[in-house]
């Protein structure tokens, strides 16, 4: 491939993604201002939002196809082939077979796009053809750096060598995320038109807010909801497109503030406003770590750019963060001084050592690199609701259900996982282990709580936290593509399930408690069976030993969860750490249990609350349609598993040299660093069958247990609850985390705040009041002085002048003859005086 073609492809991708990114912002501006004159009954805001996001999806999907057509399918295939040849003994799949699978998938995708009428058939066909063509020339390996397009939109500021800029970083991960986010957001926008229709009124009655005059009445906020949905999509897309860590941070905060608006959408409800505050504040805790990480990076690396950027016209290249840390061989180069701390030497993309102006090699102390990684991961903990900041996400279910689906399953919480994936080259093995254990704890914690939750959305919320734990675990254990694979598949089936639960809530007139439901599949069949697809997908069930065209008969969750579990098994075989394998394995069983419990509780059995059941109805088509579309993707988006196109696409962006695994280098051993080997692809592949089988057995037993307890009801669960009274209460209390935080943070802050306010009232207020009183006294004296002395003196002069004038006025008789007399007498007086005083003259 010649450079000009690559460049023009890069330009095309840039513009397509920029359009997809900025359209929702345009939509937001028009909706938020147009909402006033559009009226409360108009759906125009919704149509505009849908138009923006669907156009965004078309642009993103075209970008994905463009990326593929410009020979990168060959890169995918080459990647797979080289992988296959490296692992010829372990990998029983022949290259030709992979080509077949690829072809099948492309056709399948073709069929899907036909169904949705997205008009991308031509692209699909061409991609199909490309796939076959290039498969014939697997030798066309493309250098990795050419798969990444970076560039600058706009420079915001420049401090010395540090640029604060808006830039982009496009690789296949960006493209897949764009397509996924815009697609799911499109479905959710459509769903929300139906779900939020009761806001299309001037007088919305909120049944959950009680005022002294009965329920609260307020104007509907239909347009505002869609405006925030658009802003949210814009922020998320900006985060994915961002080419530097600072831009990520900007959009990170925008995503946070949008979630704040949307969680607190029913702002009059105390619970909703509390939940919004909680989500925002807990995210701030994580973001504090993020900021620390940013500062370390700024100080030591002097750049925020992910990729290498060309500086000026001379073609000189300033290395980005990834090149500096990892070079082109993907290894951290350590410098161990005789005394002092171990340092990491910066490299450029040709793997040469970076030097500063004096020819000294530029380095960062190893422990600071760990701190930076942990700091950035701290942000991810907050955003992706990982232990110990997981408690905000269940509360965030106070928002309308489309918000839960968009913000809390597919996009916002995905941002944390995405950032871990994007920032992967900067994480040292120690940080990765921390990530893995965080994920491990989170997935177990949340899964156990989900077992006892009775609110249908809360079950899904805990399930989300648990699945995010899986992703973090996969990423932390070196299964980069596995973790992100699970992110994508999870986004599809979890948004499906959230929307289905929204449909249930809509159909049951805002009843969310599962004990009041039951038997609903007879009333709302579409919702029930699309939900069942989601449940099977997330549980990772498959038909064992049977294959269809060489592929296991399974939905998307099976493939991605298997990938994570296989990574975990390989890691624990290499390094010990048995927990990181057994906990996700148990988690798989618990996941199947609570998901089937949800389905049986809601849709199977006999109706438990006849009032709810009698009034339940299937939702309108605009709610059901997105469910059907998403269910197709939940089934097939991971088709082909690790040979499928989605996994291959992700693999094309995998950080350098991760595929071959790593063992601790001599340097690392000398420096006394943590002794961790990352598993290579072929090692994982070797363990795949074993891990998959174990996970499948566990998942089936979980599902069976759910059937026993809640489907067939052979076991009375209430008796179990009575027998182990403590445990369910412990779990219902969410492991006591809310109480723990209450005791650890909330109450101490209340106490300290009490002290502060007492200090304020006693000391500050006392002082201020004293000052004010003294000023009053002084001014009273001043007034006295003014009124008596100053005014008295002035008045006395005035009065004296007045009385003098009055007494002198007697002289003015007005009689002319008197005046003549005065003149004469006066003249005589003057003469007399003259004679008296000057007698000599």
């Amino acid at each position: 491939m010649d450079p000009t073609t690559l460049q023009s492809t890069g330009e095309t991708l840039k513009w397509l993604l920029t359009i997809a990114w900025l359209l929702p912002l345009f939509g937001f501006v028009v909706e938020i201002f147009g909402g006033w004159w559009g009226g409360r009954h108009s759906k125009s805001a919704a149509y505009l939002a849908v138009a923006c996001i669907v156009t965004g999806f078309i642009c993103s999907f075209s970008a994905l196809i463009t990326w593929g057509c410009s020979n990168h399918w060959a890169a995918l295939q080459g990647h797979g082939d080289s992988h296959a040849t490296e692992s010829h003994d372990a990998n029983s799949t022949e290259p030709s077979h992979q080509v077949d699978a690829h072809g099948e998938h492309a056709k399948d995708e073709h069929a899907k796009t036909d169904k949705h009428g997205h008009g991308e058939t031509a692209h699909s066909e061409s991609s199909d053809a490309e796939g076959h063509d290039t498969a014939a020339h697997p030798a066309a390996e493309i250098p990795r750096s050419q798969l990444i397009y970076t560039g600058l939109f706009y420079r915001l500021a420049r401090f010395g060598s540090l640029d604060i800029s808006l830039s982009y970083y496009i690789d296949s991960l960006t493209l897949v995320m764009f397509t996924m986010v815009t697609f799911i957001a499109s479905c959710i926008h459509l769903f929300a038109i139906g779900y939020m229709a009761d806001e299309l009124t001037d007088n919305y009655e909120d049944h959950q807010v009680h005022t002294s005059h009965g329920h609260l009445h307020r104007p509907g906020r239909f347009y505002r909801f869609f405006a925030f949905l658009s802003l949210f999509s814009f922020s998320m897309l900006g985060l994915v497109l961002a080419g530097n860590i600072f831009q990520v941070f900007i959009f990170w905060e925008l995503v946070g503030v949008c979630s704040y608006f949307l969680i607190g959408f029913y702002t009059e409800r105390q619970s909703a406003s509390n939940a919004a505050n909680k989500a925002f504040i807990m995210n701030r805790v994580g973001d504090f770590g993020f900021l620390i990480g940013l500062m370390i990076i700024w100080t030591w690396f002097g750049t925020f750019q992910f990729g290498d950027v060309a500086v000026g016209k001379g073609g000189s290249v300033q290395p980005g963060l990834f090149s500096m840390a990892r070079g082109s061989d993907g290894q951290l180069r350590l410098h161990i001084p005789e005394s002092g701390v171990t340092e990491v030497v910066f490299k450029n993309k040709d793997n040469h050592i970076e030097t500063d102006g004096n020819g000294e090699q530029r380095t960062i102390p190893y422990y600071l690199l760990i701190a930076a990684g942990l700091g950035v991961f701290g942000g991810c903990i907050g955003k992706s609701a990982q232990f110990p900041l997981q408690t905000w996400l269940p509360d965030a279910m106070e928002g309308p259900t489309p918000v839960s689906a968009l913000v809390h399953s597919a996009t916002m919480v995905a941002a944390g996982v995405y950032l871990v994936g994007r920032f992967y080259p900067m994480f040292t093995p120690e940080v990765l282990l921390a990530i893995a254990y965080t994920g491990c704890i989170t997935l177990f914690l949340a899964a156990t709580i989900a077992v006892v939750a009775t609110d249908i959305k809360k079950v899904l919320a805990y399930s989300t936290i648990s699945q995010l734990g899986y992703m973090m675990l996969g990423l932390g254990l070196g299964g980069w593509a596995a973790g992100l694979f699970h992110l994508i598949t999870h986004a599809f089936f979890k948004s499906l399930m959230f929307l289905a639960s929204g449909s249930v809530i809509h159909g049951c007139h805002h009843v969310q408690e599962m004990p009041q439901m039951g038997g609903l599949r007879r009333k709302m069949p579409f919702t029930a069976y699309t939900m069942l697809i989601g449940v099977i997908a997330i549980s990772g069930l498959a038909v064992p030993y049977w294959t269809l065209w060489g592929e296991p008969i399974a939905f998307s969750g099976y493939h991605s969860k298997d990938a994570v579990v296989a990574t975990a098994l390989t890691f624990s075989k290499l390094n010990g750490h048995p927990l990181v394998f057994f906990i996700p394995l148990c988690g798989a069983g618990i996941t199947a249990f609570y998901m089937f419990r949800l389905w049986f509780y809601t849709f199977a059995g006999k109706p438990r609350d006849h009032h709810v059941y009698d009034h339940a109805h299937e939702s309108p088509w605009i709610i059901v349609l997105p469910l059907c579309v998403l269910s197709i993707f939940a089934m097939f988006c991971a088709f082909g598993g690790e040979n499928g196109i989605l996994y291959k696409l992700l693999l094309a962006s995998e950080p350098i040299a991760l595929a071959n695994g790593s063992v601790p280098t001599a340097d690392q051993v000398t420096a006394g660093l943590m002794n961790i080997s990352l598993s290579s692809h072929e090692q994982i592949h070797a363990n795949h069958a074993q891990a998959g089988l174990l996970a499948l057995v566990v998942a089936f037993s979980g599902a069976f247990a759910a059937y026993v307890c809640y489907g067939a009801r052979w076991i009375n669960t209430s008796e179990i609850k009575v027998q182990f009274a403590g445990l369910p209460r412990f779990l219902v209390n969410m492991w006591g985390f809310d109480e723990l935080y209450d005791i650890m943070f909330v109450r101490p802050s209340h106490v300290v705040a009490g002290w502060c306010s007492a200090f304020d009232r006693k000391v500050f207020d006392g002082f201020l009041h004293g000052c004010a009183n003294a000023a009053l006294k002084v001014s009273a004296w001043d007034r006295q002085f003014d009124e008596t002395i100053v005014d008295g003196a002035v008045n006395a002069v005035g009065n004296w002048t007045n009385s003098l004038g009055r007494s002198l006025s007697v002289v003015q008789t007005g009689r002319m003859r008197n005046y003549v007399m005065f003149i004469a007498v006066g003249l005589l007086g003057v003469f007399a005086a003259l004679i008296a005083f000057f007698p000599s003259t």
Binding site: V810, Q812, G814, R815, M816, R817, V820
Partner: protein, 100 residues
């Protein structure tokens, strides 16, 4: 005849004028008193011109005084007429509106 005789006549005239101004209630009488006083001053000017080295200056001054007296008489008569139009009398004791 010498300067003192002339000054004596002037003084008599002056006193007669002042007494006339002070005693007459008729506005025209008062005006006549004023004329007497002015002419007493004229007589002094002329006498000093004649008997001292004042020379022609004294006579010029007396001419000025005569002209001024004519002007003053015209104004005063106009005031008297106006006063008579308003009050049907020229008794100066009735003209006491400037009383303080």
């Amino acid at each position: 005849m010498d300067l003192n005789c002339s000054l004596f006549v002037g003084a008599v005239l002056f006193v007669a004028g002042v007494v006339c101004m002070a005693t007459k209630r008729n506005g025209i009488g008062v005006l006549m008193g004023v004329e007497l006083v002015l002419n007493a001053a004229n007589l002094n000017f002329v006498a000093f011109a004649n008997y001292t080295r004042l020379g022609l200056d004294g006579q010029v001054f007396s001419l000025f005084v005569i002209v001024l007296a004519a002007a003053e008489a015209a104004v005063a008569l106009a005031i008297a007429l106006s006063f008579y139009n308003n009050h049907l009398t020229i008794d100066v004791d009735k003209a006491n509106q400037l009383q303080g």
